[in-house]
Symmetry: C2
Subunit: 654 residues, 2 copies
């Protein structure tokens, strides 16, 4: 089988993070969030659904009809934790959940507690919305993660049996694709874990059929007979119909089913579905050597980043349908920018990086991670944003849980697998051996480059400062390249090797918000050497493209990889009154006392004078004045961790 | 009975408008709109409801449950037309409708075709929403107008019988107030037309009881038993409950029933209800000499104009509940600013002017008329805005009719009675005789001042230019004051008497948007004299108070009494890209060819450069540029009369 791989991410097992910034997030995730989420699996009835299904009960299903996936995402996250540390308590709990899952599986391999308990005769009748394949995908991802972490095969066998059952039905009994993609990327993981190419074939089947068949549309014609329909409320079916219908007619865009993938020229519909789809399609391209598909996915990525991405990296601007809308339609106060969509974007970018070795994908991952994912979780790890506004009047807050609880365990599994995003090695190792350094996170890794084991110890001050050192210790002196991602946000970078300045070739000046990063590759014989890199971090006000109406006349503040915002608690004035100069020079100051440590931006700017207005509501502009006003900005990901109040990323310009 | 009157508007019968600007509006109103609206009375079933009620039918009511009021408002508008000209065809049609209305009246005086046809046993059970008293008020207004115009008593007798029936029930059988105010001001009109003080007493009863009783609240407790409830849909009752409930509890603010009027410190709830209420309360204050009530109404007027009025004069910013929200909450793209609410504001201001002789009320009337009422009707008189946005992406358009057809006939009756707003005489005539000139509209009037008949011929170039001449011809030379309203929008005014400059006392510099106008009174012996007034009209960019978030960083253009806007059809760029300098100097140019004649503003300003963006969605602000861009603005009231497109009143500032 041909492959297109350019790079291979270094395994989580070979990387250990020990980072001043990230440690607290990862610890909170392990020690608080996973525990908290497990409690929700119990209290929400999710685990009880498995118990009842295993006991042969019927009825009494609790939660959303795809609640099984909450358990699977928790298992996946817990497995990543187990991959990097011994935790006997967690291990026992994981095993117990796996036993529950295994016991709920049907003899034929089918596994979905909603259908087993509620509508056993209606399996596979409502692919649009009932998410059986979506849940199967999360089961498979959990199984592969658990197997890789522990070597244990119990869950992998459950997943394999279910995958085999799916394989036996789809393309044969049923020609159809899932309403919510996820199984595609999972099947490729399963293929890699089991060395069974037929799972790639099944993934490819789902990717290729999408937009070619009309099953999703036909299902709506008989929606009242099929699974999950509540005739009293219209229930699931009515919601689905709204999402899939536009001006009274079926419109497959919601689930990217409006056209075959290769004919889709913009990214449409439900943002999480789109991201999981493209990630799965990238996996299929990788495994099948489909260069045309890869090139198409790269073009689609460009259409998103060039016209449909918030300055935070968030995507999907409309709450209605949790979806993409139009080019440049990026409202701030109603921004949806679902946390799960940002995570899906990271999955997609990671695969495109591996396929192409292009630094821009790793660059967007960094930006999205800091600005569109971390914001999704409170500092204490127990409250979550499902949708991420870029502006709030004070009414938008993280919540402890959601009826549709997709985001919290998705954050958990991403943080628990952060190690996988740091380093990669080149696939064309023989010709051009290299080590990619994608993310600047203090860590130790052991990698094999050009046939030699290399120990890497990274110390990084991000996101607060741009000082990075890399100690590279090769088992034997070996020539290879170390490819350092020069972040798009970095206006100036200096590299020293063993205390001597290393001249960089070409233009490495960054442009925040462009996500057009490059690698600087230092090729030499590495032995026991020290790289020191200084990424200049300055405060850079950015503007959005003139076509973005929501940001017209506005400026957002960035520094390093972070998007900043003003929060009411730090500022005297209503935020809409601050007028920021484009040439603004704000001071960045580290404050250990604030928000667990943060760099705030403090600036002097202007605001409308309140004097002179008396009781007038309008005045001739010539009679109004400005006065000086100072502001304090904090990183956007840290907002809503103190008293409730206004927040704005985009501020009026001067 | 004491009176508080300071001024008395000159009767419509004594004023004839002949104005280049207004003639076309008034002709269209007479010749197209009234005809078009009559057709709707037929096709909507409104007249058929009266026919069926008269015939003793039951069931089959069509339209909104208060559809009777559409016929009454049409009758009122038609009567105003008949007051100023002979129109035998219209007269016959009016008489025929009056016969229909009279025939539908019950023997006891009750008159409401919804209840007669649908739920005869449920009269007066749902005062909140069923609008029987509201319809009664419009019947009375129509009757008074028709009687004044023609001397005919048929409709006046119908109205009187109904009023007597209401009087016999309210305060006796039922203690309650209308859910939608209107009857209060109508009863005072009836009292004046019939010299029956008891109608003032009944109006006062409704004004005084409001907020003191809990009947509206108690009605909701038994909403399922009472009139107009549709148990299948929740129907009227469910809608009413939404409007009257806040956070699950009854909240009378929707209908200004949350507190006694004298304890209300802000204007809350449904904007039309509020305006009709305060107009009626002002009438009660006038007739009862209640100086405390008048002072309170003046303060309430200030709270609206100082904090809750759009720059157009429109009021009521929320579509949900058609209501006022919070101070300074004036969103543009979702502005409700209902046409009827603007008309109600004019009614209220007119009464406050008559009570106080304060020019600010006449000033707001002028501004509201041009900018918040005229915009409600298309140039051809057949399409209407119910809600008036100050910004549109191109999806907001006038419509031919509405299920709730309150606005079109309200515009018609206001335009048909425009004569009543032009001139007034002082009530304290003996001490300080004066003629108020409130609106600058070319016209001829005969008024009695200081016991002398005075002919006034006014020639005015408004809104396009500020040249006004007044020929004052007293039957015998008589000393009195001519009080000229110096509009708040006028930065500079010169007055000449018989070709000689007349020095004005004090500061007469205006401030657009403040509605703080003053009178300049020229007191002399008038014989056959000529006043020439020149109100300087310059382009004045205005800003909103810093607390108005929607207008932060924005400027609106005004010239003379007009608010301007940019419309897509005249401008190359998306409107959000224009950046207007506060010191902007735009040229005003009369264009006869455009929109039936208009003054456009043409200016040179700047907009973001599109070059340099390549495929980037964000860029450092320092790397972005501006280029020059020219714009064309038209008066806001004329928008949406050409091809559909964007519109914005508030533009980003420089």
């Amino acid at each position: 089988m041909p492959t297109l791989h350019s790079a291979e991410s270094v395994d989580q097992a070979d990387v250990t993070i020990n980072d001043e910034f990230w440690n607290s997030w990862l610890e909170t995730n392990r020690e608080v969030t996973l525990e908290y989420q497990y409690d929700h699996l119990e209290t929400s009835g999710c685990l009880e659904n498995f118990r009842r299904a295993a006991a042969g009960d019927s009825g009494g299903f609790r939660g959303m009809w795809f609640a099984d996936s909450d358990a699977y995402k928790w298992l996946e996250a817990a497995s990543y934790v187990l991959a990097s540390r011994d935790d006997p308590d967690l291990s026992r709990r994981v095993d117990a959940v796996i036993d529950l899952v295994a016991a709920a599986q049907d003899d034929d391999g089918y596994l979905n507690t909603y259908f087993v308990l509620e509508e056993p005769e209606k399996r596979w009748t409502n692919l649009n919305m009932m998410h059986e394949l979506y849940c199967a995908g999360h089961l498979i991802e959990a199984a592969v993660a658990h197997h890789r972490a522990t070597g244990d095969r119990e869950l992998l066998e459950v997943a394999t049996r279910f995958a085999d059952h799916v394989e036996s039905i789809f393309g044969d009994e049923i020609a159809g694709v899932p309403g919510h993609q996820e199984i595609e990327l999972a099947l490729v993981k399963l293929a890699r874990a089991t060395d069974e190419d037929r799972y790639v074939d099944l993934a490819r089947y789902f990717v290729d059929l999408r937009g070619h068949d009309d099953r999703l549309e036909r299902e709506f014609e008989r929606i009242e007979e099929i699974a999950g329909y509540d005739p009293e409320t219209g229930g699931i079916a009515a919601g689905a119909r709204d999402a899939f219908y536009e001006d009274g007619a079926y419109d497959g865009r919601y689930a990217q089913a409006h056209a075959p993938l290769l004919e889709q020229t913009s990214v449409e519909g439900h943002a999480v579905r789109a991201m999981y789809f493209f990630a799965g399609a990238a996996d299929v391209a990788a495994e099948t050597g489909d260069a045309e598909l890869l090139a198409h996915l790269e073009r689609l990525w460009e259409t998103v980043t060039e016209r449909r991405t918030y300055v935070t990296g968030g995507i999907g601007s409309s709450a209605a349908g949790e979806r993409f809308t139009e080019d440049y339609d990026l409202p701030n106060d109603t921004a949806y920018a679902e946390t799960c969509a940002a995570i899906g974007s990271i999955f997609w970018s990671q695969r495109l990086f591996e396929l192409t070795g292009n630094a821009r994908y790793a660059d967007l991952i960094e930006w999205t991670l800091y600005n569109a994912v971390l914001v999704g979780m409170s500092r204490d790890g127990t409250e979550f944003f499902y949708d991420n506004r870029l502006e709030s009047d004070g009414d938008h807050h993280r919540e402890g849980w959601f009826e549709c609880a997709c985001c919290p365990p998705n954050v958990a599994r991403l943080l628990a697998s952060l190690e996988e995003y740091l380093y990669a090695t080149g696939r064309d190792d023989a010709d051009d051996p290299r080590l990619y350094v994608n993310q600047y996170v203090s860590s130790a890794a052991t990698v094999n480059v050009a046939g030699t084991d290399v120990d890497v110890v990274q110390t990084a001050g991000l996101p607060w400062d741009g000082e990075v050192t890399l100690e590279v210790d090769a088992a034997t002196p070996t020539e290879f390249g170390v490819s350092l991602r020069i972040p798009s946000w970095c206006p100036d970078v200096t590299v020293r090797i063993n205390d001597r300045e290393h001249a960089l070739e070409g233009d490495v000046e960054g442009h925040p918000g462009t996500w057009n990063a490059d690698y600087v590759t230092v090729t030499r014989e590495w032995d026991d050497d020290r790289l020191e890199i200084r990424f200049e971090q300055s405060v850079v006000p950015v503007r959005a493209h003139p076509a973005v109406e929501a940001d017209a006349g506005r400026i957002a503040l960035t520094r390093g990889p972070l998007v900043y915002c003003l929060e009411g608690v730090d500022n005297d004035r209503p935020l809409h009154q601050y007028r920021l100069e484009p040439e603004l020079n704000a001071d960045a100051r580290y404050r250990e006392d604030l928000l667990g440590g943060t760099v705030v931006l403090e600036g002097a700017t202007s605001a409308p004078a309140l004097e002179g207005w008396d009781d007038d509501l309008y005045l001739p502009a010539a009679e109004t004045n400005r006065v000086s006003a100072s502001f304090t900005a904090i990183p956007h990901f840290q907002w809503d961790n103190r008293e409730p109040g206004e927040m704005a990323v985009w501020l009026h310009d001067g």
